[in-house]
Symmetry: C2
Subunit: 252 residues, 2 copies
Amino acid sequence: MDTDSKTIGAVERSFDIVEVIQRRGPIGVSEVADVVSLPKSTVYTHLNTLSSAGYLIKEDGLYRLSCQYLQLGATVQHSIDLYRQGKEEVDELAAEVEERTNLVIEENGLGTCVYATNSSNSTQAYMNLGEQRPMHATATGKAILAHLPVDRVDDIIERHGLEGFTEQTITSRDGLEEELAEIRDAGISFDNEESVDGLCCIATPVIVDDHPLGSISVSGPCSQFKRPDRRDELCEALRNAANVIQLDFMLT
Amino acid sequence: MDTDSKTIGAVERSFDIVEVIQRRGPIGVSEVADVVSLPKSTVYTHLNTLSSAGYLIKEDGLYRLSCQYLQLGATVQHSIDLYRQGKEEVDELAAEVEERTNLVIEENGLGTCVYATNSSNSTQAYMNLGEQRPMHATATGKAILAHLPVDRVDDIIERHGLEGFTEQTITSRDGLEEELAEIRDAGISFDNEESVDGLCCIATPVIVDDHPLGSISVSGPCSQFKRPDRRDELCEALRNAANVIQLDFMLT
DNA sequence: ATATACTTTTCGATGATAGTAAACGACCGT
DNA sequence: ACGGTCGTTTACTATCATCGAAAAGTATAT
């Protein structure tokens, strides 16, 4: 379907280089050449091309990503319905519950964070803007999966498997099926250290026209989330927020 | 310097296509081919390459930008010193003065917006995230120019000229020189409809180690900004904010 | 100063490959 | 069934991205 159809090598190489710069920050020709295992001269022309196209900035002999990506990123973010309609609401939610909140959508079969508040008492974020994580191992991912047609779910599992990240990760197809049914009933999903040890997360899907547009979540250290009263409080706040967002969609 | 050195055509073509999609949103092969004046088959392989690399998403036969750009954009933003140190402060500033505030740096000789608050009473933004504008026609740009070495200023003017956008734009080298001297004296710069009719802006540079890292600004409709008392109020608030940011840099 | 050891950059020959036209199949609405 | 889209595939060829080698630049030490 997508593995080996005709692609342009030079373009792939350029994006490889961009990713290297993204990971390692400002960097010179030689180091890039080293990392991607290409001749310096080849890398040089790529860097040159990307600079003259405005996607890299050359400063003191080092290349760094340009602000073009800022613009592209902003364009992408604003093109996402859930972001446009949900940002304000999750901001308020974050202020109310004083925990980190996230907006997540499905892309390429992965849960993709399209917005996150840095809650005031910000525990280190576990999911950053644009970051992608397998759906079966996160509250947000499961919330979406639970409301996707079965064949889509099958596709996604086939594509990405059910890798285990912690002791708690659901790694069996049956276990997942059961969990998704529960989530559909409850209208809410939990992640109790299924993705990262010590991290808990509660999520609700945002459903419009029977399609899950994505999900919103609250996340933080488990200590906070295990107290039943606190948990109920968070669930309630989440449900409310999701409701507000869904209503906004209706009225637009 | 960079006009005609060796570059890779295929890569440039791919980025052209990305930019087309950025401007026009989800789009099919034929329409792209039309816009960029290339054969459908050529465009097809480019879109294919970009999709399989994860930078485009193919949905219902249309291609759209993927969330990869979100991640790249976030990486870029966090790599900018002025953003990391200044975001919080301009957020507070925006809340205080209830106008739109911006963080701007110089990139490629252009003023580049690296952060902007959508003030509560948000008048339509004139500068969006990642957007670039000539420095001589904006308060933020002039604030930076005023503290750049003369030869850098010369470079920039040579590269981008002194295009006029409104009646008020400074279009002569001498006029600009004079203005920059005034800005250095006052520590603050104004844009009275020099860029866009009806829009005013006040900016202060953020200077660390005698180098301007960028500038912060407040902008809005002229009506608000012409009242002398209001103007003084905004100037004072800006100066304070810039001071706080500069201090933060010292302590880091 | 001179040398050394690294960079980045230029250049030209070569062969892989990106570009292209033309044909194909799928999908509309009429 | 028909013309009109659309996206996709194919096969050929001339281009052009690649790469080694060598030049030019930069910094450090001797």
